[in-house]
């Protein structure tokens, strides 16, 4: 891939988590965060006139594209104090978020409390990648558009999303798309989104809302997430701390330290199963037992003891992830 040039335009896809429940758990209100995000978006648009923007909003049920919005909506009240371009974006995004929040409140269904704090990030990310792909395909060959995604996340990880999420992350990596994560609230760091930032070369930021007061999120965003590909070559990015690379198992969606891996399709399981649920391979238990009984001989043993091709009688091997 060629080097980014100073004059190359960027494409930024902002994914905003609008999970109302998650924001109530956060020290920062959603209104406050929205205001800061709008300023950040304006700053991004101010950087280069050619810069392009897409804003997506996602909650646990749906993912909507807020900007660019459909053309046939009511014209927005003109406010002369602000630059026209900014005003259009700001008004569209704000009204979109409000509509989504009220929709979600109206269609609240009982009995979903256990997943209340989760947002479907994989859906939003794949939609973002589709937008990026479209823009890159439509732009002329002479102008390279460098794309990145900014996720403003408030909700916790949803373990059942793990596979889909990892697939989108690897797709983003292949496309050369950076994913920046701004984690606003939530009890802990988001394990999956941390990996997203790490794998794609983006930044993972946890906003410390207790310390810096209201504007700390904006300052963090301005400092680290505003830089385009070219500037990131020049300036230092914040160093990430140790990243939790743990995976979730495919059977119970639990985050596991040590698990079982199918030797054919690399699916991860938290407990021993006779048949791989992903690729339907039957495991040879003789080998698996030898594995657990005598760990030292496991590798040698499995090779010697299975005369048939590996694909036919796959052995389930243990895998240590950390």
């Amino acid at each position: 891939m060629s080097e980014p040039l100073e004059s190359d335009p960027s494409l930024l896809v902002v994914i905003l988590d609008v999970n109302g429940w998650a924001w109530t758990q956060s020290p920062l209100t959603i209104d406050n965060a929205l205001q800061q995000m709008i300023i950040f978006i304006n700053a991004y648009l101010a950087l280069k006139p050619e810069n392009k923007l897409v804003v997506l909003a996602s909650n646990k049920r749906e993912c909507k594209c807020l900007y660019p919005a459909d053309r046939n909506q009511a014209p927005i009240e003109r406010d002369i104090r602000i630059y026209e371009q900014f005003r259009v974006v700001d008004a569209t995004v704000l009204s979109g978020v409000q509509a989504m929040l009220s929709d979600a409140a109206a269609t609240m269904i009982e009995g979903e409390e256990d997943e209340e704090g989760q947002t479907l990030m994989s859906r939003a990310l794949s939609k973002a990648l589709c937008h990026i792909h479209r823009v890159e395909a439509e732009s002329s060959a002479a102008v390279k558009v460098w794309s990145r995604i900014l996720v403003i996340s408030a909700a916790d990880d949803s373990p059942r999303e793990y596979i889909a999420l990892m697939n989108t992350i690897f797709a983003a990596q292949r496309m050369g798309v950076l994913i920046d994560i701004c984690k606003v609230s939530g009890k802990s760091d988001s394990v999956f989104l941390q990996q997203a930032a790490e794998i794609t070369g983006g930044n993972y930021l946890k906003v410390d809302t207790t310390r810096g007061g209201g504007e700390s999120m904006l300052q963090t965003l301005m400092f680290t997430c505003l830089a385009d590909h070219y500037t990131r070559e020049v300036l230092v990015s914040p160093t990430s701390e140790t990243i939790d690379f743990r995976a979730t198992c495919f059977c119970h969606k639990r985050i596991v330290d040590i698990g079982f891996v199918c030797s054919v399709c690399l699916s991860i399981f938290c407990e021993l199963t006779p048949v791989c649920s992903t690729c339907q391979t039957k495991f040879s238990f003789r080998v698996a037992r030898a594995d657990s009984a005598a760990p030292h001989q496991a590798v040698n043993g499995s090779l010697k003891q299975s005369p048939k091709p590996a694909a036919a009688t796959a052995a389930m091997s243990t895998l240590t992830l950390s």
């Binding site: 100073e6 259009v88 904006l218 400092f223 300036l235």
Partner: protein, 493 residues
């Protein structure tokens, strides 16, 4: 050459240079306008913008050293130079080793981003009855193109049938040395030829900068002119704006920019005016002057009916005034240096004639070839190889636009070689050092000059050294301090 400028980037830097030359109190007044702050911010380099944005919401000053630490090790010189540039523009203020943004600039740039402050800085829209319903974006585009093209026609001397542009336009053309007076009226100069080859936004910047100089000479308030200029740049295409709040000077400027086709007024003194794409594209950077299909915002892209198409710039920057929107690309260049152009515009033919040996002319088509003589003729007029190549690239036929690179490599290389052929000697102001007393003295100075990178030529055998003008000042300081040290040492003995 006073008005030599290449790309738009270079040109922007000259606007920046103009701002640098303003005294502090002027800068303060310019900065007190959010639209001006935003426009100035957009003139900065990418890294400069990031530095400003990083500091925009920092309330306390930070150490200069810390700012340098933001850069990766091998990019530190770049960041240092950007910081220096920001300080020259008075955007950054330094105090005891710490830097912070100019408080006025910071406040107004924040206002520009959040929508506060002086409410009229982004133009007051005209809300009264619009007398002329016919002013559409399309109409404005053709109006602006006609006006601008008429001026360019006048410059190349093909305006026999058209009326010459107004006195103020001619005055600016004369002042900028794009044209000069001669016996048979006004004549285009070499820098005028270069001007013709630029894209339209560089040309508009040139005109605006000249206007500033003119305003200075006429003792107009430069800040007033600058603020109005930055306000114009941030206006929205196709909307009427009110002239009510404008000062007398600004009204005067309005009338003169109308004669360039940058603005439109129904009649002199009408209560509303419209910006045209020539001036709005300076800030939006969009090449869209195609009228109704262009959307409100140049940054819209992706989903939504019809937004994607207009937002993606096709080809390069605005080429509007030369080519009508319908026939932007018209030049075909072959690897054997032959050129075919589908055009019947006298202006385009005149421009091509600057560096192409034209052979045949048909009703809508001309043929010619780039020859050594024709290119050298252009080079001798001060046109650079890059300008020729850029012109050919931006006006390449759609069939050629699809290729990478757009122009055949053989031809572009040949044009560059022809240019190099002329530049075998390059004069550089320099200082010559010779007759060093001791070998160590020579070596010390040589090493120092090498470290700061100012050596043009050196001979170790003859102990002679040639350094650049900038280098001389530093070396003189070194010598002075060494002499003083030596004298002190001698006195101590």
């Amino acid at each position: 050459m006073a008005t030599q400028m290449g790309s738009e980037e270079e040109f922007k830097s000259t606007i920046a240079e103009y701002l640098e030359s303003l005294p502090t109190q002027f800068c303060r007044r310019v900065f007190s306008n959010p639209a001006a702050c935003l426009a100035i911010f957009r003139l900065l380099s990418t890294v400069g913008k990031q530095l400003v944005m990083s500091m925009l919401y920092l309330d306390s000053a930070i150490k200069l050293q810390d700012v340098y630490q933001w850069a990766k090790v091998d990019h530190q010189p770049l960041v240092r130079s950007k910081v220096h540039q920001l300080r020259k523009l008075q955007i950054l203020t330094e105090e005891k080793g710490t830097v912070s943004l100019n408080p006025i600039f910071r406040e107004q740039l924040r206002n520009a981003l959040t929508g506060g402050g002086d409410f009229s800085s982004f133009g007051i829209p005209y809300t009264g009855a619009v007398s002329n319903r016919g002013v559409s974006k399309k109409w404005l585009a053709s109006y602006a193109n006609d006006r601008w093209e008429a001026i360019l026609h006048f410059m190349v001397g093909h305006s026999a049938d058209a009326e010459p542009p107004s006195e103020s336009v001619r005055g600016i053309l004369r002042m900028s040395k794009l044209m000069e007076n001669s016996e048979e009226g006004m004549k285009i100069t070499n820098s005028g030829f270069q001007f013709l080859l630029q894209d339209s936004s560089s040309q508009v910047w040139t005109v605006l900068l000249q206007y500033l100089r003119l305003a200075e000479m006429q003792d107009m308030d430069v800040v007033e002119v600058l603020n109005f200029m930055f306000q114009l740049v941030s206006l929205q295409l196709g909307r009427p704006y009110s002239t009510e709040a404008l000062t007398r000077n600004q009204r005067k400027m309005l009338a003169e920019l109308c004669s360039f086709g940058l603005l439109y007024q129904d009649s002199v003194g009408a209560p509303q005016f419209y910006p045209t794409h020539l001036i709005t594209s300076l800030s939006s950077g969009s090449a869209s002057h195609s009228g109704p299909s262009s959307t409100d915002s140049a940054t819209v892209v992706g989903a939504g009916g019809g937004t994607g198409r207009s937002a993606i710039p096709t080809g390069s920057k605005a080429t509007g005034e030369l080519a009508k929107p319908s026939d932007q690309g018209f030049i075909i260049l072959e690897t054997n240096c032959r050129m075919y152009a589908y055009t019947n515009s006298a202006l385009q033919i005149a421009i091509l004639n600057l560096f192409v040996h034209l052979v045949n002319r048909f009703p809508n088509f001309i043929t010619g070839a780039l020859t050594r003589d024709s290119v050298r003729r252009a080079l001798s007029r001060g046109i650079t190889a890059d300008q020729i190549i850029t012109f050919l690239t931006t006006h390449a036929h759609p069939q050629m636009q699809g290729r990478t690179p757009v122009l055949p490599i053989t031809v572009t290389d040949q044009i560059r070689l022809w240019e190099q052929e002329r530049n075998r000697l390059r004069p550089t102001p320099a200082y010559f050092y010779k007759d060093f007393g001791q070998k160590q003295e020579y070596e010390r100075m040589f090493k120092y000059a090498q470290d700061i990178g100012v050596i043009l030529w050196a001979s170790n055998e003859k102990r002679q050294l040639v350094v650049t003008r900038q280098g001389h000042a530093k070396i003189a300081e070194l010598v002075k301090s060494q002499r003083a040290a030596a004298a002190a040492a001698a006195a101590a003995k």
